[in-house]
Assembly symmetry: C2
Homo-oligomer: 356 residues x 2
C-alpha cells in the first residue's frame, strides 16, 4: 500500500494581507509554527509517507518557493500548472503522473494551508482512509465540526461501509449552509466538514474522471503519455490550460457512487483568517497571540503580529488584530478580519501593485 501525498498549493487569497501577497500566498507563511504552512503539511505525513513520495501541484509563480521549502522532494514531483484550472485538473494531473508508475498507489490529497493539532489521530484517520481507498473507493476525510460554521461545505454520513468499521458511506455532499442549517448539522452529529482531504487510488480517480469528466480524462491521457519524457512540459503547457476548470468535489466526488467518508476529530483548522490564529497558536494569559516585539498593555484576546526590531505597543483593546508586515500595517477587529479583502481591493484600485 503505497501512499503519495499530493499537496495542493495553487491557492492565492487575500485574507492574510498584509502578510500574504500575490507572490507569497498563505501556504508560504509561517502562520502556525516557524515554518510555512506547506512545510508543516508535508511534515505531517511521515511515517505514513515520506517527502520522497510527496507531490506538490502549484502555479508557476510559486514553484521556486516550493522547491526551496521542500528540498527533499524529487524535482519531478513538483507539478507546475501552466494555468490555474481548479482542483479536478490539478488532482487529475497528479493521478496521471503517479499512475504511470504505480496505478494502484493511493493519493492523499492535502490542501497546503491547513493545520492539524492532533497528529496521531490525524495519521490514524489517514491510515484507515488509505485502507478503504486501496479497495478502490474514493475516500474523503470528514472533519468533526466544532461550531456551526457557515463557511465550509459539509459531508452527510450515510450507511455503514461493508468491511470497514471506521468508514461510512457518504449520504450527500452539502453546500455551505446558512446559520440555522449549520446549527442543525452540528447538533445532528451526522454532518462533517469537507476539508478537501481525499484519498483514492490513482487508477480509481482516473476512472471516475473518465466517467464524469470525459473531456478532462482525454486531456489527462494525452498528458499522461508524455510523463517521464522530454515532451512532458510542452504537452502540459499545450493541453492543461484548455482543461475544464472544475473542482474535484463538483466534477467527481458529488457524482461518483463508490465514495466513503472517514470521520476525523483531529484538531483541524483551515487557518482561515487572522482571527483563527488563537485556534492554532499558544496565547498568553490574557488570550493574546503574540509575535515579534509586542508591548501589550491591558490587551485581551488580541492577535498581535509585530516585527522583531520594531515595538508594537497596544493599549486597552480587546479582540483586535494588529499586523505589522514590515512594509504595511493592518488594524481590524477579529470579527472584521474577512474584510481584509476590501483593503486589497482599495490598493488594487489605487494601482499600488507593490503591496498586492
Amino acid at each position: 500500500l503505497n501512499l503519495y501525498p499530493v499537496i495542493m498549493a495553487g491557492g492565492s487569497g487575500t485574507r492574510f494581507w498584509p502578510l500574504s501577497r500575490k507572490a507569497r500566498p498563505k501556504q508560504f507563511l509561517p502562520l502556525v509554527s516557524e515554518r510555512a504552512l506547506i512545510v508543516d503539511t508535508a511534515a505531517r505525513m511521515p511515517p505514513l509517507a515520506s517527502l520522497k513520495s510527496t507531490f506538490v501541484v502549484c502555479g508557476k509563480a510559486h514553484a521556486p518557493a516550493v522547491k526551496k521549502l521542500l528540498k527533499g522532494m524529487p524535482a519531478s514531483h513538483l507539478l507546475v500548472e501552466p494555468a490555474a484550472r481548479n482542483t479536478a485538473p490539478a488532482i487529475g494531473l497528479a493521478a496521471a503522473v503517479i499512475a504511470k508508475h504505480d496505478p494502484a498507489g493511493v493519493l492523499v490529497v492535502l490542501p497546503s494551508d491547513q493545520n492539524v493539532l492532533d497528529l496521531p489521530a490525524f495519521r490514524a484517520a489517514l491510515a484507515k482512509a488509505a485502507e478503504i481507498a486501496a479497495s478502490g473507493a474514493l475516500v474523503t476525510l470528514g472533519i468533526k465540526p466544532t461550531r456551526p460554521e457557515t463557511g465550509y461545505g459539509y459531508i452527510q454520513v450515510g450507511g455503514p461501509l461493508p468491511g470497514f468499521a471506521s468508514g461510512r458511506r457518504v449520504g450527500a455532499f452539502v453546500e455551505k449552509p446558512d446559520l440555522p442549517k449549520a446549527k442543525a448539522y452540528l447538533a445532528s452529529g451526522d454532518y462533517f466538514w469537507n476539508a478537501g482531504i481525499f484519498l483514492f487510488r490513482a487508477d480509481a480517480i482516473l476512472a471516475e474522471i473518465r466517467k464524469h469528466m470525459p473531456q478532462l480524462a482525454d486531456g489527462l491521457d494525452a498528458i499522461g503519455e508524455k510523463v517521464g519524457s522530454k515532451g512532458f512540459t510542452a504537452a502540459l503547457g499545450r493541453i492543461f490550460p484548455k482543461l475544464p476548470s472544475v473542482s474535484i468535489d463538483y466534477g467527481v466526488m458529488e457524482k461518483a457512487q463508490n465514495i466513503a467518508v472517514v470521520p476525523a476529530d483531529v484538531g483541524w483548522s483551515d487557518v482561515g483568517s487572522f482571527a483563527a490564529l488563537p485556534e492554532v497558536r499558544k496565547a498568553d494569559a490574557q488570550g493574546n497571540v503574540l509575535q515579534g516585539f509586542t508591548i501589550p498593555v491591558d490587551a485581551h484576546n488580541c492577535v498581535l503580529l509585530g516585527q522583531p526590531g520594531r515595538p508594537l505597543a497596544v493599549i486597552g483593546v480587546s479582540d483586535l488584530v494588529v499586523v505589522d508586515a514590515g512594509d504595511a500595517i493592518l488594524v481590524c477587529p477579529k470579527d472584521r478580519s474577512q474584510d481584509v479583502r476590501k483593503v486589497v481591493e482599495a490598493l488594487q484600485a489605487a494601482g499600488k501593485v507593490k503591496f498586492l
Copy 2:
C-alpha cells in the same frame, strides 16, 4: 513698547510616544501643521514681534534642534539651561538677559507646544495684555474654557482693572479641580484656563522674583552681570543648576499682588495627546484625522498617523489611535491615550533605550 517672545521649550514628556522621544519631545513634532509646534509658536507672533526679538529657553539636548528650526533667531537668544530647573529660573534667566538691554521690554512667555486656531483674536489678546504689562503688572492670558477639564489649573477673575477695560484683576490661581468643581467653574464663567502664557516687563518680573524668591534673584543677578561677556556660559553653568526648581506660578504669580488676567477666546489647545489632534487638525468626512498612506475602511473618529511609503490599513474601528512612527507602532483607544506612558515605562524597564 518692545515685545520679546520667550518660548519655553524645556519640556520632555511621553504622551506622544512613539512620535516623541527623549531627543525629540513634543514641541519638535509637526503635530498640527507640517511644521514643528515650536516653529508654529514662533510664527504666531509677527507682527507683534519678530523672530529677531524672540528668545528660546531649552535644555542642552535640544539646542541643536531649536537652532535648526528657528534659523532667523539670533544665536545669543537661545538660552540653554545647564539643568532643568522648572519655569521660575527659566523665565528669570530670560528676564535677566533682556533686562540688560531693555529693562522695560515686555516678555511674552509662551509654552512651545501649544496650538492656537484664531490667530487674530490671539494677537489682539496679547496686544491688550502687553499694554497692561507695560504699566508694570504681571499679566496672564486666561483661556476661556470649552469643557470641564480636570487637567489644567484655573484662574478665577477678580474685580475690574482700573484703566484697562480688557483686563481683570486675578481673584485666585486655582489648582487642577476634580470634575464637579471643573463643571462649576465652566458654568460660572468666572474661571479661565491657565495656559502658562504670561506677559510682564523684564524689570517687573525680576522685582517680583526679588520679593518672593530672593535666592533665585541673587542667582539671576550673578548671571545677569555676565550677560554679553565671555564668562556668561561659565557663570550660567556654575549658578543655574543650583537655583531652586520652582514654577513661576507657584513661586511668583500666586504670591504677587500686581497681577492681571486678560480673558481670551482664541481656539487654544495644549495638544495634550493624540486624542486632542481632532481639535487642531482637519478630519475627513468620517471624523478621521489622517496622515501618511492610510487606508481607512469603515473607520470613524480615528487618529491614523502613518508613514508615506507604508500603507496603514484600518478596518471597522472607531475612536482609535494608530501611529506608525517608522521604528515603532502604537494602537490605543482615544480615551486611553494618556496611558502611553505605560508603554514608555515598559520600554524603560526592558532597557530598550533606543525607543525612548
